[in-house]
């Protein structure tokens, strides 16, 4: 009896907790509400299954608990029931998978009007690079990283000269424009994660990874590192500010390009 009751309470408690607890995701600030919707679908399907299985179990424990003189039924198998259940499960799983795959294909295929922004991770800070006037990011090389060229932009690449370099500071993005985040690391694995944007992706040294999104709300958002990258990992916060177009341009105007940043050093070496 007690056991059956506890099982029922577990289901009731879990469901109540789900609906009543104050712990829920942050308000979304990107176009990935598709993801939220998929999660909601998943919650419904799995929630129903969980409740059904545990309640059924509770019923069995209550109804078929041992009493003097009881005898269990002898029923090795029931093909019909088994295949029927298999089919239902397959349907449930498909209902989860299909929307998921559709959203994933959106997630990996970047719209052509997205602007590129490069994020560079290093222990334990974030830097950024924007393509500059030509709209193209120059190539980079970790071997070229040094105090003057912290992002390792290849100086010989003309595309790189006008790139805007934001070293260890906040990133600004214009609201409503799709961006493709190109993720690069010069030391270990990191992961660029803004909970409000829902999207995240690891950065791997020696390769460039990406994800894209469209910021839909202005405001200040915290960047978290979501891949263990050494003892400074939990401190590796950053800031992304989503601005209106004017604010964004104002900010952009104050930033320095790679050419500007490396100029004093070139003069210095000329002496």
């Amino acid at each position: 009896m007690a056991v059956a009751l506890v099982l029922v309470l577990i289901v009731v408690g879990s469901v109540l907790f789900h609906f009543l607890s104050p712990w829920w995701w942050t308000p979304i600030a990107s176009n990935w509400d598709y993801i939220d919707n998929t999660i909601i679908i998943t919650f419904w399907i799995t929630g129903v299954v969980f409740a059904a299985v545990v309640l059924f179990m509770a019923y069995c424990v209550f109804r078929f608990r041992h009493r003097e003189g009881n005898q269990a039924a002898y029923e090795p198998e029931n093909r019909r029931l088994e295949s029927w259940l298999t089919v239902v499960t397959a349907v449930g799983v498909t209902a989860l998978l299909v929307p998921g795959l559709f959203v994933w294909s959106r997630f990996v295929n970047v719209p052509s009007d997205a602007t590129e922004v490069e994020v560079v991770g290093q222990q334990w800070q974030w830097s950024f690079r924007l393509p500059g006037k030509d709209g193209k990011l120059g190539t980079s090389d970790t071997r070229d990283v040094n105090a003057e060229n912290p992002l390792g932009v290849i100086a010989a690449d003309a595309n790189g000269q006008d790139d805007v370099v934001v070293e260890a500071a906040d990133l600004h993005l214009p609201v409503g424009k799709p961006v493709k985040m190109l993720l690069r690391s010069i030391d270990v694995l990191h992961d660029f994660y803004v909970p409000e944007f829902r999207a995240k992706m690891d950065m791997i040294p020696g390769s460039v990874t990406y994800f894209w999104f469209t910021p839909t709300k202005t405001g200040t958002f915290q960047v978290l590192c979501a891949e263990l990258c050494g003892q400074g990992h939990p401190m590796m916060h950053g800031v992304v500010m989503v601005d209106t177009q004017e604010d964004y341009l104002a900010w952009l105007g104050q930033q320095q390009t790679f050419a500007q940043l490396s100029a004093p050093q070139q003069m210095g070496s000329a002496e």
Binding site: D141, R184, G206, S207
Partner: protein
């Protein structure tokens, strides 16, 4: 494989071992003798030499591209097949064992295939973002 068992090469003890068992309910070790004519081994040996020479010649003549790769693979598979089938007596084992051993490596092949794509993708991003290479 089935033919190999059927053509009577070796494994003549199989049947006798079973009848033997049947009569003696007591426990007797069944030892299966993999006896095959020595000549068979010599022939295989010779073939392995020939195939190795062929694969060596692929390099010696400096063949290139798909021709080279497909020849290498063909000779490799033939050699591996001979070793496993004849030298390791797989051809005369019962199919239960054969499949139990041959099938799982398919998982490695899946892994290999995926890693080909993965590695190509890595190379692609490296070329695109880091330039063609030092």
């Amino acid at each position: 494989m089935a033919e190999a068992t059927a053509n009577g090469l070796g494994q003549h003890t199989l049947d006798s071992a079973r009848t033997h068992d049947a009569t003696a309910t007591s426990v007797t070790p069944t030892e299966v003798h993999q006896e095959h004519p020595i000549k068979l081994y010599l022939v295989v040996w010779a073939w392995l030499f020939i195939l190795s020479t062929c694969s060596y010649l692929v390099d010696y003549f400096g063949l290139h591209g798909y021709l080279r790769w497909s020849l290498i693979l063909i000779f490799m598979i033939l050699k591996a097949g001979l070793i496993v089938a004849i030298f390791m007596h797989m051809a005369w084992e019962r199919l239960a064992l054969t499949y139990a051993i041959i099938l799982p490596p398919v998982l490695v092949l899946v892994f290999v295939t995926l890693m080909v794509f993965e590695a190509d993708y890595t190379l692609l991003t490296r070329m695109a973002f880091f330039g063609a290479g030092p």
